[in-house]
């Protein structure tokens, strides 16, 4: 294992994915440093979710190499795939909570099904995860009885209860207002530091991502156009970066202006 392999918890080389004739990911090369909060930015339809689903093995890439902890993930190596699933969690855009299970049962599910822990220990660990996300008072509620923000926290509790090393976040702030977007990113950053997992987030929310992330990358038209620190992203003069950053800022300013106008009316 090389130094670079040890540095990156997950590394992608030459990743390609097409749907029919449309190329969504085109020769993606990216390494996610261990213990970092890494955000992949990009406009809607850029292929961010497809990229994340290829990493999680929900979609199968057409070509390329994905390495986890220095070992290549292949379809044939089921043992490594199983190990990857144990050490990695996925937070869906829709949260994907089980609506027929209570909050506690949702969190306990991965422990019940993938470990040999006793029922008492599973309950204790699940309650602990809910407590850490300030959800312990709601453990008997069903997901449908919780607010959007609480559902997000519940999904995060389920994702971290198995103590994963890598958590993949698919558009965690999609459909949320600016205040809630900020709160979700703050929550991800807080728990990422508290539980020391590596977080890989895909989003199109630039301001929140730049504040919370250790590193960012820009995915546009299926290619990684930029990779660096948030400061480097802010200072970049690359046309594609400037274009995306300015359009995001312009949209944000327009929304603020509309809000202020509404308040003063």
């Amino acid at each position: 294992m090389s130094v670079a392999d040890r540095e990156f918890i997950i590394q992608v080389e030459g990743l390609r994915k097409s749907f029919d004739a449309r190329c969504v990911l085109d020769e993606i090369d990216l390494g996610v440093p261990r213990g970092s909060l890494f955000t992949v930015l990009g406009p809607s339809g850029a292929g961010k979710s497809v990229f994340l689903k290829c990493l999680a093995n929900i979609l199968h890439p057409d070509a390329g190499r994905i390495s986890f902890d220095g070992r290549q993930l292949t379809a044939a190596d089921s043992a490594l795939r199983t190990e990857f699933r144990k050490r990695c969690s996925f937070l869906f855009q829709s949260n994907a909570l089980f609506d027929s299970l209570t909050a506690l049962e949702n969190v306990a599910l991965p422990l019940e099904q993938t470990t040999n822990l006793g029922l008492r220990e599973i309950r204790e660990r699940s309650m602990e995860a809910l407590h850490q996300l300030e959800m312990d008072d709601f453990h008997e509620r069903y997901p449908g009885q919780l607010s959007g923000g609480m559902q997000k926290r519940l999904a995060l509790a389920r994702a971290i209860v198995t103590q994963p090393e890598l958590v993949l976040f698919d558009e965690p702030t999609a459909g949320l207002d600016p205040i809630r977007r900020n709160a979700v990113f703050t929550m991800i950053a807080k728990y990422q530091r508290q539980f020391h997992f590596t977080a890989l987030v895909v989003t199109h929310d630039v301001p929140e991502a730049l504040v919370a992330s250790d590193r960012v990358a820009l995915l546009n038209h299926g290619k990684i156009c930029f990779e660096g620190t948030p400061a480097e992203f802010s200072a970049s003069v690359q046309p594609v970066v400037c274009g995306f950053r300015d359009s995001a800022e312009s949209l944000s300013n327009s929304i603020d202006a509309i809000r202020q106008k509404n308040f003063t009316m």
Binding site: R85, S89, F90, F92, D99, S100, P110, E112, T162
Partner: protein
């Protein structure tokens, strides 16, 4: 035209193959599934207790109608004393396994297809896979095991209730001696009739619940109907395919294995 026939034929063959793989994977997942008992009990409740009123109502009325029709046919030959045999053999050999299966498909099967379809739509099934949990083992296997328990039990109940229905219309309303009726039942039904009845119930249960689960599990495959319409279409297909398969399987079992 030839191209269309060829494409349709290939789709049907591919569908059968896909269904066989799905059922095989769901049954083999039983071995690796953890804490299966709790989920089997829940599935037995859904297929058994919840469907009980329907089975009781359909069973009693089937018996009542069989008693009435049988009495009028047999009275032409002066053989009213054989009413118990007619009702019991009709119920045990055909009516109970087929009608109970169709009722269970309509209630438990459609619910299963709709539930799995919604879980597919809201990414709950994909979420299980990303957790390293077998979605077949967690969601489908308990339902298939439960069908092997509930279908024979519900069929047996259907027979009992149907026999009482036949006795009600035959003895109470039409004046056939109650002792003659039950004695005729006792002499007519043999062990091989009961074996046929339960063999049919087991096969119908496994086939119909597998089809319903298969349709719901892959509710997202249709390119023409997605989302809620996709779930609705999958549920309709589940009920229609299951009902047809139950009748085809009934004919095959009766023709070749009985």
């Amino acid at each position: 035209m030839l191209h269309l026939i060829g494409t349709q034929s290939l789709q049907i063959i591919s569908g059968f193959g896909d269904f066989a793989v799905f059922t095989g994977r769901s049954l083999s997942s039983v071995a690796h599934s953890r804490r299966l008992g709790h989920r089997v009990i829940r599935a037995v409740y859904e297929q058994g207790t919840v469907c009980l009123p329907v089975i009781l109502i359909v069973g009693i009325f089937t018996g009542l109608v069989l008693g009435l029709q049988g009495y009028h046919v047999l009275s032409r030959f002066g053989s009213q004393g054989l009413l118990g045999a007619l009702v019991s053999l009709s119920l045990v050999r055909e009516m109970a396994p087929v009608l109970a299966a169709l009722m269970l498909v309509g209630q438990a099967g459609s619910a299963l297809a709709a539930e799995l379809g919604m879980q597919r739509n809201t990414e709950q099934i994909v979420a299980l896979e990303t957790m390293g949990v077998s979605s077949h083992g967690y969601l489908v296997s308990p339902r298939l095991i439960a069908s092997l328990l509930t279908f024979p039990a519900q069929t047996a109940l259907f027979v009992v209730v149907g026999l009482w229905g036949g006795a009600l219309s035959g003895s109470l309303l039409l004046g056939v001696d109650s002792g003659v009726y039950w004695s005729s039942v006792e002499h007519a039904v043999e062990f091989r009739d009961l074996r046929e009845c339960f063999m049919k119930a087991l096969i119908f249960g496994l086939l119909s619940m597998s089809i319903c689960a298969w349709q719901g599990f892959h509710a997202d495959r249709s390119r023409t109907a997605t989302g809620a319409r996709g779930v609705s279409a999958a549920t309709t297909r589940a009920v229609v395919y299951s009902s047809i398969i139950v009748l085809i399987a009934d004919y095959i079992i009766t023709s070749f294995f009985v």
